[in-house]
């Protein structure tokens, strides 16, 4: 069965369709691997393949790992938090149902930073996830379990969510592909909310074709259960491009210099030359407000989180503590016992930013900065097809390296947050390996290359990513050993 793990998800689906392997056999091969997980990537693994062969479906019965924060009926869904201890939702998230109908059954639930707040997967009630390339290092976050599972071949593909980089950054750190779609392209119904104006589900996959195939079945008509969801204007095309003739790539100077590790910058520059070799033109561009994106994000996302997380009060589901001194005592003790340190920090930050006297200075200004950032992108897309940057300023860092300094942790999102604020799609593709600055000799760690485009340009982004992927020739197999 070890051969199975070498197939991409699209390849596996094709082999099921051709009768080389049955979908229950494929499911079981991955179920065994997921159940033997040593990376703490999974919070829950299915006990058996779902009833009935689904080989005749578009996704061929290729099993799917799903981030814990997607509600799955009767299956633990805790968003990595103690406060949802024992919670088994009475319904399933729209996107998970949609993918199951298309033939991607639920393999397991993956670990994550609590309520998707984090960039290292260390803020998790179930303990940290380990990076399969070097187990002393983080897989990134918050979709760290999904990224590690796909990279290590414990799952053929996975669902994650991205609020400020939570799909793209772990994809970069684990050497896989991660795509954040246009805001609204994928239904958020059944996703346990972090920051509702930013949250978006997307695929984490071994290659660009798998990302396109999974995304194709995540988008479509708008979901009546999510009033912010949008009809995707056209079907997602499977990528075929091998050249980039006529493609204009813009490199924002604000996101490609200061604060980025030299090994990451070198790989980025090298890939720009590769893109030119494929026919693209590469020029510098400006996103003047991008350096302020992180500040705006760390007002807006915590503000929305403080509101969204008000529902965790010990009344309707999950943990309940205290109460001897009345209802307020029950609320405050439950939230004290149930939330981890980072969640408390963000709830406090958000509550502060929304509190009387500070609202205009923080939330109001941040929403105006957000407008400027969208305008910057709109202006750049008048001259360029795509904006490209390194995905993460560094390669995977050591476990514990940034846990004592929240700001250092937040800076991981420096290159991914601007696209989130503008609601535009962006992908991270593997861009070779490198050693971190100052680290002792050792095997290389994955680096990510980010490509962002205008709203609903996913098919074109995937094509561009496909051409680059062919030319870069990244080999992810060491992580699956």
């Amino acid at each position: 069965m070890s051969e199975v793990v070498q197939w991409s998800a699209a390849d596996a689906a094709a082999r099921v369709a051709a009768g080389e392997i049955s979908s229950p056999e494929l499911f079981e091969a991955y179920r065994e691997r997921a159940a033997a997980d040593e990376l703490n990537a999974f919070a829950w693994v299915a006990e058996s393949a779902p009833e009935g062969g689904r080989g005749d479906t578009p996704l061929g019965g290729v099993p799917l790992a799903v981030k814990d924060l997607f509600c799955t009926e009767g299956v633990p869904s805790q968003a990595g938090s103690r406060i949802l201890e024992g919670y088994r939702p009475p319904y399933t998230a729209s996107v998970v149902s949609r993918l199951a109908e298309a033939g991607a059954p639920l393999l397991g639930k993956t670990n994550q930073d609590e309520f998707a707040m984090g960039s290292s997967n260390e803020n998790c009630a179930f303990g940290p996830v380990l990076n399969p390339w070097e187990r002393s290092r983080v897989p990134g976050g918050s979709s760290g379990g999904s990224a590690a599972a796909v990279a290590a071949g414990l799952a053929p593909w996975a669902l994650g969510t991205d609020t400020g980089g939570s799909i793209r950054q772990p994809a970069a750190l684990c050497g896989i592909v991660g795509l954040k779609p246009t805001y609204g392209a994928v239904s958020r119904y059944g996703m346990i909310a972090f920051a509702s104006s930013l949250d978006q589900a997307g695929p984490l996959t071994r290659d660009v074709t798998d990302a396109a195939l999974l995304l194709r079945h995540m988008v479509g008509e708008r979901d009546p259960m999510d009033s912010t969801s949008l009809r995707f204007p056209e079907p997602i095309e499977l990528p075929t491009a091998t050249r980039l003739g006529g493609i204009r790539l813009g490199v924002p100077e604000e996101l490609s210099g200061e604060g980025i590790e030299s090994t990451v910058l070198e790989a980025f520059e090298a890939t720009l030359r590769v893109a030119e070799g494929l026919g693209a033109t590469v020029s510098a561009c400006r996103l003047p407000h991008a350096p302020h994106a992180l500040s705006a994000y760390y007002v807006l996302a915590p503000a929305e989180a403080s509101s969204n997380l008000a529902r965790f009060d010990g009344v309707r589901y999950g943990l309940r503590s205290g109460g001897d001194a009345g209802l307020i005592d029950m609320y405050t003790r439950t939230r004290h016992d149930g939330f981890g340190a980072e969640v408390k920090r963000r709830v406090m930050l958000g509550t502060y930013a929304l509190s009387s006297g500070y609202y205009d200075a923080f939330y109001g200004r941040a929403q105006r900065v957000r407008t400027k950032i969208s305008e910057d992108f709109a202006a750049a897309f008048a001259d360029f097809d795509f904006i490209v940057t390194p995905t993460s300023p560094t390669v995977a860092f050591e476990l514990g390296a940034k846990t004592s300094d929240p700001l250092a942790m937040y800076l991981n999102d420096f290159c991914t947050v601007p696209m989130s604020l503008a609601g535009i799609p962006a992908i991270s593709v593997p861009n070779g390996l490198g050693r971190p600055d100052g680290a002792p000799e050792g095997p290389g760690l994955p680096i990510g290359f980010q490509i962002a485009g205008p709203a609903f340009s996913e098919s074109r982004i995937l094509d561009c990513a496909h051409a680059l992927q062919q030319a870069i020739g990244f080999d992810g197999s060491p992580a699956r050993a």
């Binding site: 003047p288 302020h292 500040s295 999950g318 309940r320 003790r333 406090m348 200075a361 503008a422």
Partner: protein, 116 residues
């Protein structure tokens, strides 16, 4: 990272600067219905000050006349016909509750304690 203040534009400074007092932390914790231990109060005061100092960068921008973003993609109101649709059965929903009395969620008395 260069702030893009228009040259000569008056700088609107708000009282954000890296000071958040212990009293403010306790006040915000009360608003957030969050009990904090003494250690947590100390750590929170330091952590919030550090993050707010960074966030304060946006107070240097000239944003006069810039409208706030309310939604990133232009959308019309998403309305549906006002027709009732089935919802989850009561027993299914109550099955997840920490405590149930009769047909509802049971909670401790709101009258006890009194620290609102």
């Amino acid at each position: 990272m260069s702030p893009t203040t228009r040259p000569g534009a008056p700088r609107r400074r708000h009282r954000i600067a890296g000071v958040i007092t212990r009293e403010e932390v306790l006040h915000v914790a009360r608003l957030a219905r969050l009990q904090l231990s003494e250690d947590e109060v100390l750590a929170m005061t330091a952590d919030l000050a550090r993050v707010l100092e960074h966030v304060e960068m946006i107070s240097t921008l000239d944003l006069e006349g810039v409208p706030p973003t309310s939604h990133v993609v232009e959308v019309e109101n998403a309305l549906r016909e006002d027709v009732p649709i089935p919802c989850l059965p009561r027993d299914v929903v109550l099955a997840a509750a920490p405590e149930v009395v009769d047909d509802g969620f049971a909670v401790p008395s709101p009258q006890a304690g009194g620290d609102g």
